[in-house]
Symmetry: D2
Subunit: 238 residues, 4 copies
């Protein structure tokens, strides 16, 4: 399995706190723990040519992990369309935290993907609401994060195909923080936590969920539909 | 309730068969039977200024019915975006037949919306698979159409929120021909039949389903979410 | 529309606090505010003959509202089966609070319907997660209840057809507190709040949701499926 | 993975055609091709003591495959309840063909599970409607069966969590013939084909789907919810 971890990689350059928490960037941290699994991992970032997402990179990727926040608009329309198309063609997509507002996710959802938010160093507790789901394998009834950004409902997404986690926030909100979607031949997992100023991606349980998510979105040898004009399979009496 | 019936209105001008079946256009036929209900109906077509969909028209519309086929690409990007936004803001949308490939529907679904098709004067039988759904009110177990265009699976849409009809075709295919979706504050009903060369919209049962669909997508006084930065509702101890 | 409000009516007899809050019983309180709508409301309770649910009562009921808690096991198997059958035949069902453990709801869900709970006079905030849903008509982004019993995930129900509310609890849990299900020709709405020692059913917003729920589950003139041996509709060549 | 294939094994004893097609019983045929995978397979049948489903057998089973038809009522209530409970506790369940009317499936669905049927040696074509689903791995756009029993809509099940296959029948009906459900910690796959008088379980594509189904329902190390009275995780101010 080839996994590409994409990161905007801007906060890391401009904010010392972020640089300290993620000395190799958020993409480096995520690639680091994904490498513990039996997968091939590479990274790509916004400021590389074609954002690091050349046709070759995209065509070889089985799964793309996406983190973005302050520079969604700098992602070129062309690349965003290509990524969307690859998902429809079967590439898995893991969408993390503020990537809810990425071009790719919004194009695939068809909605605003808007939400409430607040940076107040508050506690988040993500409850498992689907204990049959392989994405929850190896974790307990909930994951607790001492400090995170709050994301609150209403989260403007289509009703997920599967709702896996619901978050409780200290400040009084709830959020559908783990959700799966199928689009075309591709599978998508949105996972909420991961504000850049907290060490969330160093949390072992968060890492487990992302590892599980990567496996779950990875496509298999399923049928490729044929579209367009079709000859009848049966005699038509007209 | 204000309903706007939008039609491309091109086949009617270039194809005598279509003009004969729908002397007032497909939009005229649909507006005609919708007027039997207690609603206010107007029409709009592609070749009008702003495709007949000015801000005023859109802002006053509770429900928009959309039929298009040969000229999807002539719908301006700007208008398509406005219509999408109005759906997210709560305007109901009924998408008919070949409008599966309209810009508006594709934007809202996030997928290719592609399918198999064939024009072979074949029989279609639409089976009700959700007999609790108000969209099926007043019809029987199935609707039979002697001659229709075939649409076949795989239909590249997100899994519908509700699957209402599944079609059987004489030539050997099946199709998810009645499906509902919620996007933002808006409700959407896709209904398959209505190829321009057949008198499908004169069929009483098809009319009943479209009437029901218009009622079902009509929005009510539900909460309007507030998005963006939010103050805590509870004390945060950090 | 004929609505029957069913209540166990036991806490009211044995607990003074409950009797004070609901002098006419929980059923009386619910019937009271439902009567404000254009519906015919009657009540039925556990200790009546056949629990007040004779064939005549059930056959005339369009919607049944159910509250039970301490005496689920005293509901006869026969009556529970009859109620279940009526739901499958099209009677709407509104299941309130501790009725998650009622025989009728468990039979219809097929799961244990178990959950976490706690009586600690804590705050509940029910967030709307589906702002398109008619059940949320007329309320705001959330409903706040100063003191309620806590119900926490995992709630062992099938994934709801629609998730309408998610609750935040002061003590740290979340709960899918408003959920719809379709079974057979019947529609079901589960709504969490309403512990007997709190005046929850006197809350105007809670009343609005229950009124909306009653309307939403009320069945319409949809197709009645025919089951069993069926003659072919097309010629079979074998 | 331990798989138990359960079969009523009655038609095989009383009907020569069935005995000829399945000399080792339907269970023998299914166990035979499942053994090609890396799994441990045993069989159990109705006329064995406890129907072959002792506590030990059930507790060791990761997945149970169920075929039954003429003797659903002879399955003891106690065993049916035990099987249901094991599914809720995490055992996977593959329900084949006429087992739609088995006690276990009906208990888990909460509906009548009724349908239309006809034995007329007619053609069935099962179309893939979810090409992302691992259950479709390794097959094409559809599976064609020259002769099968017809099952037609309305199929009285809850809306499936995932709809995988839809069947076309020569006689004019359609059917949701591959569907998944989650109940408790267990996963369920219903797969339609397999009438006893046809060699359906010798079809390689049908075998592939059943193999995939067994893998898909097999539970993983996901969280086991704790139910009942729960202490607060946060301070409650009351």
């Amino acid at each position: 399995m080839n996994v590409v971890v994409w990161n905007e990689n801007r906060h890391e350059k401009s904010n010392e706190t972020v640089a300290e928490i993620y000395p190799h960037g958020i993409h480096g941290a995520i690639a680091g723990f994904l490498e513990e699994e039996n997968v091939s991992v590479t990274t790509a970032t916004l400021d590389e040519e074609e954002h690091g997402l050349t046709d070759e990179v995209l065509n070889n990727a089985d799964v793309l992990v996406w983190w973005g926040h302050m520079a969604h608009e700098e992602v070129s329309e062309e690349i965003a369309e290509k990524v969307k198309q690859r998902v429809l063609d079967g590439m898995g997509l893991v969408v993390l935290h503020s990537a809810h507002f990425s071009k790719v996710f919004k194009k695939l959802m068809g909605t605003s993907c808007d939400l409430k938010w607040r940076e107040a160093d508050e506690k988040e507790r993500m409850w498992v609401v689907d204990p049959t789901h392989p994405i929850t394998e190896g974790i307990g009834e909930y994951i607790e994060l001492e400090k995170e950004e709050m994301y609150g409902e209403h989260f403007d997404i289509p009703a997920p195909d599967e709702l896996v986690f619901v978050s409780w926030f200290e400040g009084g909100e709830v959020f559908r923080s783990g959700a799966t979607f199928k689009r075309g031949k591709g599978r998508i997992f949105y996972f909420r936590p991961g504000h850049e100023t907290y060490p969330t991606y160093h949390n072992k349980e968060v890492q487990t969920v992302i590892k599980n998510g990567v496996k779950w979105v990875n496509s298999t040898n399923t049928p490729t539909p044929v579209y367009g004009n079709a000859k009848p399979l049966e005699t038509i009496n007209n």
